[in-house]
């Protein structure tokens, strides 16, 4: 039974990674950039909820709404100010370094505003959860809700991308920006929309993560951000279902590795899995293989 508990915890952590990875993979697929600051959006989202709920004493729902709105705006503004001018810079490294700059900026701004000390985050989910098999298996409310929300997000995103006009425009931009703009698609708007969606997903992931692991510092988002990126690559970057699968695999391996092997080596195991998968399948689990034409 304890294995099942750990497995479900892994599934829950994996769902959080998956939600972050979805944002990562969309931004990568469309803007063709590694947004290293993505993880820090999570942290910003958490601090917003913390301020609204713990400091101002308002309803958690207000906090969640505020964090989604602020992260979305932050995503759009960051793209406009820091990334868009470098879209045709000639080297993908330029925008990568700028993203790192944005990441430093957000972390240090949070450090100035909130201080370096760890804030105890009050979970926004009050449900105790369920107890199964005569008390042998207890699943926390936050675990169930996290998994459920990630599934809903996956379904909504898939529908949005394949069934709506804006989603189709995203697909077109991800294939070929030039051709898309010739077809009358507003590329700038589409990229803005992608950043908006990605950042709002980061806010949601942040709230769920801090509810499950309630300690908040300016660096809270960095490592989950990197791991979510690993998840996106593992699943095949640019692929929505791939990000989901990658996230779940990563979460489960991390928790099981921590429990059964070594808590110190669990990150090494997670990264080891990525290495093995990419060596066997260089484009990730669901990634497409594109060969250069001679």
């Amino acid at each position: 039974m304890s294995f099942l508990t750990y497995f479900i915890n892994g599934l829950s952590l994996g769902s959080i990674y998956a939600i972050i990875a979805l944002g990562y993979t969309m931004v990568y697929g469309i803007a063709k950039m590694l947004n290293f600051a993505h993880g820090d959006f999570i942290m910003v989202g958490c601090y917003v909820v913390f301020t609204v709920v713990s400091t101002m004493g308002l309803n958690p729902l207000v906090g969640i709404a505020a964090s989604i709105v602020i992260c979305t705006l932050l995503g759009i503004i960051t793209e406009k100010v820091a990334y868009k001018p470098l879209r045709n810079a000639g080297s993908p490294l330029a925008v990568l370094i700028t993203a790192i700059g944005v990441s430093y900026f957000l972390e240090n701004a949070a450090l100035l505003i909130f201080g370096a000390d760890t804030k105890a985050f009050t979970s926004v989910i009050k449900w105790e959860g369920v107890i199964l098999a005569n008390g042998a298996l207890k699943i926390q409310g936050v675990t169930i809700i996290t998994i459920a929300i990630s599934l809903v997000i996956l379904a909504v995103l898939q529908t949005f991308i394949y069934k709506t006009k804006a989603g189709q425009a995203m697909l077109a931009v991800s294939e070929d920006k030039g051709a898309a703009s010739l077809m009358g698609i507003d590329v700038n708007k589409t990229i803005s929309l992608t950043f908006a969606i990605g950042s709002s997903l980061a806010a949601i992931a942040g709230v769920l993560m801090c509810s499950a692991y309630p300690s908040l510092t300016p660096y809270t988002g960095a490592m989950p951000g990197i791991k979510a990126f690993v998840a996106a690559v593992l699943g095949g970057i640019g692929s929505i279902p791939g990000a989901m699968i990658g996230g779940l695999i990563l979460g489960i391996i991390e928790i099981l590795g921590k429990t059964y092997v070594s808590s110190q080596l669990s990150d090494a195991i997670v990264f080891g899995i990525l290495v093995i998968v990419l060596i066997v399948k260089p484009t990730g689990i669901l990634g497409k293989n594109i060969q250069e034409k001679v």
Partner: protein
Amino acid sequence: MTMKKIQDKYITYGMVVIAYVLCEILMRTGVMTSHIKGLLVPVCYYAIVAVGLNLCVGILGELSLGHAGFMCVGAYTSALFSFSMKEVLPTVPRFIIALFIGVAFSALFGFLIGIPVLRLKGDYLAIVTLAFGEIIKNVFNSVYLGLDDKGLHFSLKDMASMGMDPSGKILVNGAQGITGTPSDANFTIAAFLLLASLFIVQNLIDSRDGRAIMAIRDNRIAAESNGINITKYKMSAFTISAAIAGIAGVLFSHNISTLTATSQYFGYNASILILVYVVLGGIGNIRGSVIAAMVLYLLPELLRGLSDYRMLIYSIVLIVMMLFNWAPKAREFREKHFAFLKKRKEARQ
């Protein structure tokens, strides 16, 4: 080889030598604060690892986010040697052997990691190097190594599972790392090793093998059709790049007394920091890497007066510099209003 290339190389050496002499004068005359003195060796090893990374990113054209990991290998293996030989060997031979050990092991890791990694492309390659860097850091963080009468004891779990005699000597103590390493490095050695690294990389670039490496960067398919062994040159460049990161690692661990594999120095954040030096100094511009490492490493320290705001300002400076250097619109603006800068650049080429 043209005269320009020769000149270019010696300008870089000259710059380092002048900086070294200047610092020595400031130190001897007592003008330099002890705080700044403490930064001199770190500036050198960050410049060294940036030069090494530029070989990988700028010359070979493959983005590595794991060079702090290679630095970690060099730091640990050399420190382990120096620590074990603390009472056996005098300082000079001890440091020389430690340097060779650190470089050899980081080269070996570079070679072994290069085999799978260099089959990948672009961002996939980047994230796998990041993964390897994190794995190295994590593993070194959980290594326990001890020596007693019965021989060496090793564990990845904890001290107790080594099964060591209590009278034995602990060499590596997990996350606490190696305590009491001899601080054999100094500014002169560091400056010399920076010159040596520059010598290796700049000479390599200006050789048959360097041209082959850059040909692969510019057009792999054409390089194949010109009979260039892609795997051989990718592996060589990556291995040398890792070895140079190892030199930096040796300096790192011989400049302190306690070596731990913390994220700050050996995690992906450190790798990214080095990449920032390389990109801001100019991708493929070796001298630029040295200058950028010097300026950017010292910048937060010089901003110390602004205390809490310094890292915030650092990040803004970074973003603005990137936008100013790389954005097509900023380039147009510069060409219009700073035409004289462009002329100088052309003359250099």
